[in-house]
């Protein structure tokens, strides 16, 4: 039950540069799976879609609708690849922790990469930075800065706080959900491993929780991308 993390501190002699090797592993695994799935699902593209292509087009339409509900398609078209990659990456990352966890030599190696605050916050920071970048690029510096004193100038401090709050909540929401899910799953599996009675008693709750976690994985991926589009639209759209 008790396990640590394979952490390398101060790598390459640089102070503060810590690596959690399990995170690094899971990031690479998730990225690879996403890449392979996306490429395999997008093979043999045809005008008349069938099978996997239909599924992919359903996801594309899902993200497209998210973008359309927050900003005009003309402005939002460029965010479609970002949204698609995010929703795939987060969903796959979430799901990877459901099936099993691998503890090797007392250290947890296989888990959801999204059950770690470093990773979710990195994604959140990336999204917020992108929103600022596109805000500057598409509206110009003046218009971008005016966004902070609109509708009334005294909201400026709140607006600045909002940027950090957005980043933090976006990352922490995903992290919290996934981490809580893994903790409960670890507990349930612990109960099941404790003996025959524990196995019988823990089987149903474990299965139920795994199913529920699958649902949460989808919902959280959806929410993350949806909020990404909302934040982007706040910075990018002219009517805000």
């Amino acid at each position: 039950m008790d396990h640590g993390a394979p952490i390398v501190r101060d790598a390459f002699g640089i102070s503060g540069l810590d690596f959690n090797l399990s995170n690094v592993l899971m990031i690479l695994v998730t990225s690879t799976i996403v890449f392979i799935l996306a490429v395999v699902f997008s093979r043999n593209l045809q005008q008349k879609p069938k099978g996997l292509q239909n599924f992919m087009e359903w996801i594309v339409d899902l993200v497209k609708n998210m973008i359309n509900s927050t900003m005009s398609w003309k402005e939002g078209k460029q965010f479609l690849p970002l949204g698609l990659t995010l929703i795939f990456y987060i969903f796959i990352g979430n799901v990877l922790g459901i099936m099993f966890m691998v503890v090797y030599d007392g250290e947890l190696w296989w888990k959801s990469p999204t059950a770690d605050a470093s990773i979710t916050l990195t994604l959140a920071v990336l999204v917020v930075l992108l929103s600022h970048y596109y805000g500057l690029k598409m509206k110009g510096t003046g218009e971008y800065l005016k966004g902070y004193v609109r509708p009334v100038p005294f909201l400026l401090p709140l607006k600045i706080i909002e940027e950090f709050a957005n980043t933090l909540t976006l990352g922490m929401r995903l992290y919290g959900n996934m981490f809580a899910g893994e903790v409960l799953l670890t507990l349930l599996v612990g109960v099941m491993a404790s003996g025959f009675l524990g196995f019988v008693g823990g089987l149903i709750p474990t299965l139920a929780w795994q199913g529920f976690k699958l649902f949460i994985s989808g919902i959280q991926a959806f929410i993350f991308v949806m909020l990404t589009m909302v934040y982007l639209s706040h910075k990018v759209s002219k009517d805000h």
Partner: protein
């Protein structure tokens, strides 16, 4: 069993800068690769299909208009043809009537002409016959007279006698 310490351990303890860098780089590379190999082709196909469908709809609309136009044209054509056909029939009837009239007229005139010819011929024949008869009668009467009278007459007396008889014949006639 419910030892909260491993929860903290599981969290990986705060933020690891290395992880963040790895995550950032990995995610950016992932976006680039997946966009190039999956999203771009997928979006292109969807866009192409959209255009294709729009084109097909436009084309169908055009075809419908075209066929409507052609139908109208054909109907007009049919109407014109009917009109000209009835006109031709009318003309033919008229021509036939005229021809009939003229043929009848010709026939009538031909008949008249034939009748006239016949009449003149008959009259000529009659004249000829009368003349022949007169000549024969003259000769016969001379022979009869010479036989009856049995006397020589001078040529002058003979002529006078003949004329006298002839006049008598003419009066009898």
């Amino acid at each position: 069993m419910f030892d909260p310490s491993y929860l903290v351990l599981n969290a990986g303890m705060g933020l690891a800068l290395g992880d963040m860098i790895v995550q950032l780089i990995a995610f950016l590379i992932l976006i680039a690769l997946v966009t190039k190999f999956a999203w771009r082709p997928l979006m292109n196909v969807m866009e192409n299909r959209e255009n294709h469908i729009a084109n097909e709809i436009d084309q169908a609309e055009n075809n419908r208009k075209e066929s409507e136009r052609l139908l109208k044209e054909a109907q007009d054509e049919l109407k014109n043809t009917r009109q000209s056909a009835s006109k031709i029939i009318e003309d033919a009837k008229l021509t036939a009537q005229n021809q009939q009239d003229s043929i009848l007229e010709e026939a009538r005139q031909e008949a008249l002409r034939l009748k006239e010819n016949a009449r003149t011929e008959i009259e000529q024949e009659i004249d000829k016959a009368v003349k022949q008869l007169q000549d024969q009668v003259a000769t016969l009467s001379v022979q009869i007279a010479s036989k009856v009278i049995e006397k020589e007459l001078s040529a002058d007396e003979q002529d006078e006698l003949i004329k006298e008889y002839l006049n008598k014949v003419g009066e009898n006639k």
